[in-house]
């Protein structure tokens, strides 16, 4: 199995630069997920790796081989498209075996490969059906099967689950994780669903506007984001960002009635009047925390297990608080939202993390 390396990779469509210098190191057998908002260049980057888009500048290595000008079929990759891209006039069996006919694989061998893929994906009863006679999830599995039979070094997935309903997505997500274990192949997976990213990835690459914002394991990115964008992108409900001004040892929060958050050691690196944003995840509010903010709840959502309270102080910014024990809470309650100071993240005016 091969890894991949991207070195200062760029892509322009005409005069518009879409990928603005991406460096990336992907290890063999790693499950890497590209996430980012719509239009940030995830698909473009994936298609460059596949060879469907020319690389404008920079270098792409798969294994140890420079692949910039290698034909897509010679890169040792297989791709699964969001639209599945199945051949509509062929049966499931033909869809999976078609490409092998041109790779010099013998008929019995093709049959064997197809049956093997069908077994892994539980497609055996459907082999004689056409794509239009399959459900979305089954089509998706055929598309994956078509990739599997080629035994690629690297699998590329472009939002493979986005056309499925919520329940099927969860099911297929688990299937994909199982498949990764079984195939032991390198997988690059594009999604804008952060739950898919968190659950599937060995490594997440967060992209924004053609730039890599941060690379790391899901929990690294969650607990220790480099910037405000990554902090806000992962996690649901989103992290609270409290705008403040440095005032001595403390961060004063004008939109929360000038309540303060202690800056701790960071205070030495900052001067009075600096604009700093504090980030607190909703679930980091816990009874018995070392600090607190006083707010009034405006809306309370009881999800059964958890309770989300959306609260403000005197009409300021909204603060989302998650609670395990908020069943009695109703809108209009005064709440002292306690949190652990150690878990608060601070960002400078440009959105970079202050450490």
């Amino acid at each position: 199995m091969s890894g991949l390396q991207l070195k200062a990779v760029r892509k322009s469509f005409g005069s518009v630069e879409v990928i603005k210098g991406v460096d990336l190191d992907i290890k063999p057998r790693e499950f890497v997920v590209f996430v980012g908002p719509s239009g940030c260049g995830k698909s473009t980057l994936l298609r460059m790796i596949a060879g469907l888009e020319q690389i404008t500048a920079g270098e792409l290595y798969i294994g140890d081989e420079l692949m910039n000008d290698v034909d897509p079929s010679k890169r040792g990759i297989a791709m699964v498209f969001q639209s599945y891209a199945l051949y509509p006039h062929m049966t499931v069996r033909e869809n999976m075996g078609f490409a092998l006919r041109f790779a010099g694989v013998s008929k019995p061998e093709i049959e064997k490969q197809v049956l093997e893929a069908a077994r892994i994906l539980e497609l055996e009863p459907l082999l004689e059906r056409r794509p239009k006679e399959l459900s979305g999830g089954q089509r998706q599995r055929v598309a994956i099967g078509r990739a599997i039979v080629r035994h690629p070094e690297v699998f590329l997935f472009d939002e493979p689950l986005s056309n499925l309903d919520a329940e099927l997505r969860v099911h297929m997500r688990i299937e994909l994780a199982r498949l990764h274990k079984e195939l032991r192949a390198t997988i690059i997976y594009v999604t804008h669903d952060q739950v898919e990213a968190m659950t599937l990835a060995d490594k997440i690459v967060v992209l924004r506007d053609g730039i890599v914002e941060q690379v790391g394991t899901p929990l690294e990115l969650y607990d220790d984001p480099d910037n405000r964008f990554v902090a806000g992108f992962l996690g649901s409900p989103k992290m609270n960002f409290l705008e403040g001004v440095v005032d001595g040892e403390n961060l004063k929060l004008p939109t929360f009635g000038a309540q303060t958050i202690a800056l701790g050691d960071l205070a030495k690196k900052l001067k009075n009047g600096d604009k700093v944003t504090a980030g607190i995840r909703p679930e980091h509010f816990k009874r018995g925390g070392s600090a607190a903010i006083n707010v009034t709840t405006e809306l309370v959502e009881h999800l059964g297990g958890e309770t989300y309270a959306y609260a403000r102080h005197d009409g300021g910014d909204v603060l989302t608080v998650a609670m395990d024990d908020g069943r009695e809470l109703v809108a209009g309650d005064q709440v002292r939202a306690e949190y652990d100071l150690k878990r608060v993240l601070f960002f400078d005016e440009a959105g970079q993390r202050l450490r």
Binding site: K74, A85, F102
Partner: protein, 307 residues
């Protein structure tokens, strides 16, 4: 009778009255079209069926029973026209449709430079007047026309080819002419259909190492099958009605009736020599029957075996 019953009965009556008025309104709307279709299509079709049983010259007609059909079987000129039309059909339609398909495939490639220009250029012949282009072809293929001049200049031939005087070459000229005129027309159908095929199907094939010829043969052609069927039926009908080109390029079937087609023969029977309306109508029905049979065969061939 109770009030409730009464009113419900009235409701039903009212409803059926509304339904009837809607029916009448509907018929009124389509009546003008129906009348026109009736006068100019259905009546002539039925009248020509009646005519096909008439014998006699000019206006001097009488019922002849099956004698026109017997005449069909003993008519050497009809056989000739059938043979010529068959040649045009078997040679020209496949060549034209294959060309159209290849052009459409090539012009569907977004990376092709000058796509718009080529699309227009290939479609342009379809909007030229039938007579104008026929006259042009006739002059180009004349003994001292540009085609001969070019071939001699390029040293492909030593002596001018008597294009319009030799039966073989005359047919070649006719086939070239209709291919030139109608290829772009068929290409438009293929292009439209190609644009409905998901691009990522081809991208998937490319990644999986399916060569371009196989993509064309095993993906494009099967996916275009319904359109190919449609164009082959349309082209078959068009070829069976081949008339203008023959009238204008080979003066109605020269040399020696080698390009005489069924339509031209019907025209000759009707308006030339001594008009024979009845027999002309019979020959027209021959075309109808051939079109019906060929279309049915094409549907059978193209039918999805699994559906």
């Amino acid at each position: 009778m109770t009030i409730a019953e009464n009113s419900s009965k009235g409701g039903l009556l009212a409803r059926s009255r509304i339904a009837r008025r809607e029916q009448i309104n509907g018929w009124m709307f389509i009546m003008p079209a129906l009348v026109l279709v009736g006068i100019f299509m259905i009546y002539p079709i039925l009248w020509s069926l009646w005519m096909s049983f008439q014998v006699g010259r000019g206006m001097n007609l009488s019922f002849g029973g099956l004698s026109n059909i017997i005449r069909l079987t003993q008519d050497p000129i009809l056989l000739r026209a059938l043979f010529n039309t068959g040649i045009f059909l078997v040679v020209q339609v496949p060549i034209m449709l294959t060309l159209a398909l290849i052009f459409a495939s090539a012009l569907n490639n977004p990376k092709l430079i000058g796509r718009g220009f080529f699309r227009t250029a290939i479609f342009l012949p379809c909007v030229t007047s039938l007579v104008a282009y026929s006259v042009l072809f006739k002059s180009m293929f004349a003994e001292d026309g540009v085609i001969n001049a070019f071939l001699m200049w390029a040293h492909i031939i030593a002596d001018p080819i008597p294009w319009l005087l030799d039966p073989f070459w005359a047919r070649i000229v006719i086939i070239s002419a209709i291919t030139w005129r109608w290829t772009g027309y068929n290409m438009i159908f293929y292009l439209a259909a190609l644009q409905n095929i998901d691009r990522s199907i081809y991208e998937a094939a490319r990644i999986d190492g399916v060569p371009a010829w196989a993509q064309f043969l095993y993906i494009t052609v099967p996916l275009l099958k319904p359109v190919i069927l449609f164009t082959s039926v349309i082209s078959t009908i068009g070829t069976l009605q081949l008339f203008d080109e023959i009238m204008n390029i080979t003066n109605g079937g020269n040399p020696a009736d080698s390009t005489l087609t069924l339509s031209v023969y019907i025209y000759n029977l009707t308006f030339r020599f001594m008009p024979s309306f009845g027999y002309a109508a019979t020959v027209s029905y021959v075309i109808v029957i051939i079109v019906a049979i060929l279309s049915y065969v094409q549907f059978l061939v193209a039918r999805d075996r699994r559906a």
